[in-house]
Symmetry: C2
Subunit: 392 residues, 2 copies
């Protein structure tokens, strides 16, 4: 068991119409002039934005708007946001949307509080010493950014996608109304469920540390998301299932499911990142397309965890050798992905990569992780290439 | 499923020698003159206090000391603490100990930040509008006060024991080193494990709300504490088991295991409070002595939960009617209490109450909860009396 820090200070208001509390929460955390940061038009078309604006106006809170945050949010918009906030003397950031709007707002906050080029933080050149207070109205359950310390930004020049994690970036509050996620396309819902499970799975498949309370709560979370993903496939407006998945999304990435372990494996995420760099891929679907090949490549080096996963998450029969049970668990997970219309290889993901592409991705991935990475199994460039090839 | 708020902002440093970070954390949260509040001499005899003082001195942080916090901490000491802090211009409170020192420090914080008589908050006359920042070095896993919003203070005059809950009372940081709990007497360890489980069980046995993710994580927590309580009975210096129990103690009372339900039942706690008022009873042991009688009295009105508990926490065989399974679960829980030398009735608790005592306790309990209370089953005075009588 490893020592750990746990810090998840975000105040969560969860349930129907919780967005009606947004002005009250902004005032509680000292905001008087707000940047409302969002992505596309869905939050406007749904009427949510009008509701938010009316709340702020009634409370005498001034605001400016900045839309346009896209999946893999762009650095250029972050710069724009910083300039706008300076010009308008903004003292509070409100992200309305999913991970894209939240991550983009986190970057704007770092830029405002620290000065200099905000890309420095993502480029590993500096550490943030503060941020501007941030609140969230969540409309998509997936990235867990509403309670996490992390954000990912893409620099357009060279399409460099980099993450930065800091406790200063954690949101002051998160408003989570499961009803706001009900109009998502089925594919995005399934991608979100996959991403949520993967945040816990990356922490779970390790060879270091491990507390029983963390592991068994992680398994409980994973079983819950698995079950409710299938409910949502058949009944997308099911409030309870939306709520289970939404709350799981926050708990899966706020640190809880990693307490006491060695920090996790994270190689599925790293392999997917390169995929997302070269092809137009939804993050959750990319993770599903890679995971099975990764799992079959590494499971013998992390057998006790894969066996536990098979029995306690996938609920396969406790019969046969440990290897047979572990493999049955991996197969059951791939069956689950297929059942919610997620891909289990690159072909099903709809991309046609040449072997040269795979070689390029493996090289970039290895460089990106400083040569090698992984706790279930430590992977080098040749391992990464083998996994990409197996995922074809 | 009910709407909920979740707010657990306490920064946790968990692991060996984490107490070495105390000065750094106090500075991070703005402290320059500290009240070190503690209970008896064990934290001095163990050398912990010398370590803490040396840290503060090296960091140039001034401090004053106030010991004497007892189980069911007294109002008089809270008043003393408030006066001392005013005189010494204290700006940060550090509780070193278990729930007694922490609860007493929370009350001192309310008194300092709000003025007037601090008993008003416990007496329900006012609400706190702030508190003085509080840090904790935990030496006893039980009450969960290190991450909870609650505190319980006893007014000596009339022995009135009252709780007050406010987010302002939540600790800024909690230092948790499982090694600091290794020298506890076995009885106190078992009492702590019982208290920890009960904080989740009070939230679990309800007829309202219930999210699958909350329930299944609660079950995971309860199984973990049960298993590790037995390990600690046989091997009190087992670091991993101490760590599992310690972290479970915080998660069991920080709100996590109640998200989405109706607020919980809490009648076992209320029934035990009256017991503790009339007799000299360790809180955890009192809970164990009452629980079985409460459970047998209410289980038919909350059968699905008692069945789930039997199967998923006590892991009894899935055989027979729902009632038979539920009863087997209650019996297994009582067997578990006995296995860690906890009582399962008032006789085993070592108190000899007359029927008149039981009548008095039932009356006081009913008055204390405004006539009646309970979610598993709503209990009135006659129900409370029946449970006390069954617990004889």
């Amino acid at each position: 068991m490893f020592d750990f820090k746990y810090f998840a200070p975000t105040k969560v208001l969860f349930g129907k119409n919780t967005e009606d509390k947004v002005a009250e929460l902004i005032k509680e955390f000292g905001g008087s002039k707000v940047l409302i940061h969002y992505g596309g038009g869905s939050v406007i078309r749904s009427g949510l934005m009008d509701k938010v604006k009316a709340q702020l106006e009634a409370a005498g809170i001034k605001y400016v708007m900045l839309g346009g945050a896209v999946p893999n949010p762009h650095l250029q918009l972050v710069y724009e946001g910083i300039e706008l906030c300076k010009k308008e003397n903004v003292d509070f950031l409100l992200a309305v949307g999913g991970g894209s709007a939240i991550d983009s707002a986190k970057a704007i906050g770092y830029g405002l509080a620290n000065g200099g080029d905000v890309w420095d933080f993502y480029d590993g050149k500096r550490k943030a010493e503060g941020s501007m207070p941030l609140g969230v109205i969540l409309t998509l359950a997936a990235t867990g950014s509403e309670m996490s310390d992390s954000s990912v930004i893409t620099k357009e020049e060279g399409l460099i996608k980099r993450g930065y994690s800091s406790d200063f970036g954690r949101a002051k509050f998160a408003i989570m109304n499961p009803e706001l996620t009900m109009t998502l396309p089925d594919y995005q819902t399934a991608c979100g469920c996959t991403d949520i499970m993967m945040h816990t799975m990356e922490r779970y498949f390790t060879n270091g540390g491990n507390m029983e309370i963390t592991d068994s709560m992680a398994e409980a979370l994973l079983r819950t998301v698995k079950k409710n993903s299938i409910i949502l496939r058949d009944d997308p407006k099911n409030y309870d299932a939306r709520a289970e998945v939404m709350w799981a999304g926050s708990l899966s990435h706020n640190g809880l499911t990693g307490c006491g372990n060695d920090g996790g494996d994270w190689m599925t995420h790293k392999l997917e990142h390169e995929l997302g760099g070269l092809f137009d891929v939804a993050h959750g679907a990319g993770l599903a397309a890679i995971w099975g090949s990764w799992a079959r490549y590494v499971y013998k080096d992390c057998l006790p965890r894969f066996k536990r996963y098979a029995l306690n998450v996938m609920e396969v029969e406790n019969k046969g050798t440990d290897e047979e049970i572990a493999l049955a668990g991996i197969e059951a997970m791939e069956d689950f992905y297929r059942s919610i219309n997620m891909p289990t290889n690159l072909r099903e993901l709809g991309i046609t990569a040449t072997d040269e592409d795979l070689v390029t991705m493996a090289r970039k991935c290895a460089v990106g992780v400083g040569g090698g990475k992984g706790s279930a199994k430590f992977l080098k460039e040749e391992d990464m290439l083998a996994i990409y090839r197996a995922a074809m």
